[in-house]
Symmetry: C2
Subunit: 218 residues, 2 copies
DNA sequence: AATAATTTTTAGTCTTATCTAAAAAAATAT
DNA sequence: ATATTTTTTTAGATAAGACTAAAAATTATT
């Protein structure tokens, strides 16, 4: 069994590990986890001893097969709990992250299996992120960033990149939600803002926002 | 906020605190928590510093008002989660204790309020134990131990004292469950066993079992 | 290629929660 | 009233996980 601290580090490495065959840097992990680089080094050595991570001094960390299994299992728990909180307990999508951050560490295989069943095997969480199945597999829907859509193109909003409370509440205020059709009306080159149609409303959003929404095109 | 360790100690003291105005002894707490007496002394000193416990050397510990509030709030969480696990996730009553032992430490007022609502404000948990309300109040149903019933008397089974897996599974096997009517048919003085009628079956139970079942008489 | 800046690691501390062994106090027995 | 036994506390260690400050390695700049 692994400690909450270990699970959190592994999850962070999993989330930061983008480019293949390159270790995730100590500083990146430290920033993500709000700790100091020295603490990260300590933990990486411990995780390496346990073969959860491949780590060589000054070369960052990569998850081992075993480490990756733990990562997906924690992510699975996190996203299932978020789904529970929103779908069953009527939390809104901007309130659930911190609670799921705790619930994801509860130890019980059966619990998660039963929760999965209770929720009717959801494939995505309230933020549009895929939920790994029991074997760690997750379906990857092809989705693109809204900013890349051209004028007159449209698609369905299927996810957010930034899932901070602030951003999610902003989307609520603008009545932008997952599942909605979004059409690009025009693009302003002088400030990179975009005018979109959501439902029957037109609104103008900034470049930054357009870069934080995932769209699925037909 | 309090650590899991602190919450567990407080809960243990709460559970062991029976006779008024007498501190709970160090050894009793140690036994309940599977730790050593010296660890308990350490923690009692810490809890006393934080005014959660009234503690004088060699005189055991008593919860302060503040300590009692924490205790009932943790018990409330424990029992609500147990209820969730049994009523919503279809766990059986002998499987939920260890999971609730973890879930009870998740920090979020709102979470527990919403869970309470989702469960429709249950008053007792799957083992018949009362669930404290938001203010820490718990309804005390008058219930007596089955062993004290006289021949021909009857009542409804409303709780268990021992809630170990072993005992609960034994009850399942005998088809004894909460809510059932139990009538005492006869008592054997040579081994203190009792013959009872449950539903339409008669069965003989030992003294020990009769001392671990709560009955509510009309 | 040498120097400067940045990143990462090491060394040493701290806190929490545990333990063992020994000392002290309280309770029990003679 | 002593002596013995039991309970409780203290003293000293250990492990996990964090921190600061300093040293070492790497990367970037001239
Ligand atoms: Mn977490
Ligand atoms: Mn999410
Ligand atoms: Mn607990
Ligand atoms: Mn219970």
């Amino acid at each position: 069994m692994f400690s909450q601290a270990e699970e959190n580090y592994i999850k962070a490495i999993y989330a930061l590990d983008t480019k293949a065959n390159k270790g995730v840097s100590t500083n990146l992990i430290a920033e993500k986890m709000n700790t100091k680089a020295s603490s990260v080094t300590d933990m990486l050595q411990k995780l390496a001893d346990k073969r959860l991570v491949v780590y060589k001094k000054y070369q960052g960390a990569q998850l081992s097969i075993k480490g990756k299994k733990i990562a997906t299992s924690v992510v699975r728990k996190h996203r299932l709990w978020e789904t529970f909180l929103v779908n069953k307990l009527n939390f809104s999508w901007d309130e659930v992250h911190d609670i799921a951050e705790q619930l994801e560490h509860v130890k019980s295989e059966t619990l998660i299996d039963k929760l999965d069943e209770f929720l009717d095997y959801p494939r995505v969480d309230p933020h549009g992120d895929p939920i790994p199945d029991k074997n760690g597999e997750l379906l990857s829907i092809e989705k693109i960033v809204l900013a890349t859509l051209k004028v007159n193109e449209s698609g369905i909003c299927v996810g957010v990149i930034d899932s901070s409370s602030d951003f999610l509440q902003f989307l609520d205020k603008q009545n932008i939600a997952l599942g909605q059709k979004i059409t690009v009306i025009s693009k302003e080159s002088f400030d990179d803002s975009i005018t979109i149609k959501v439902g029957n409303r037109e609104l103008s959003i900034s470049q930054k926002i357009a870069h934080n929404l995932f769209i699925k095109t037909a």
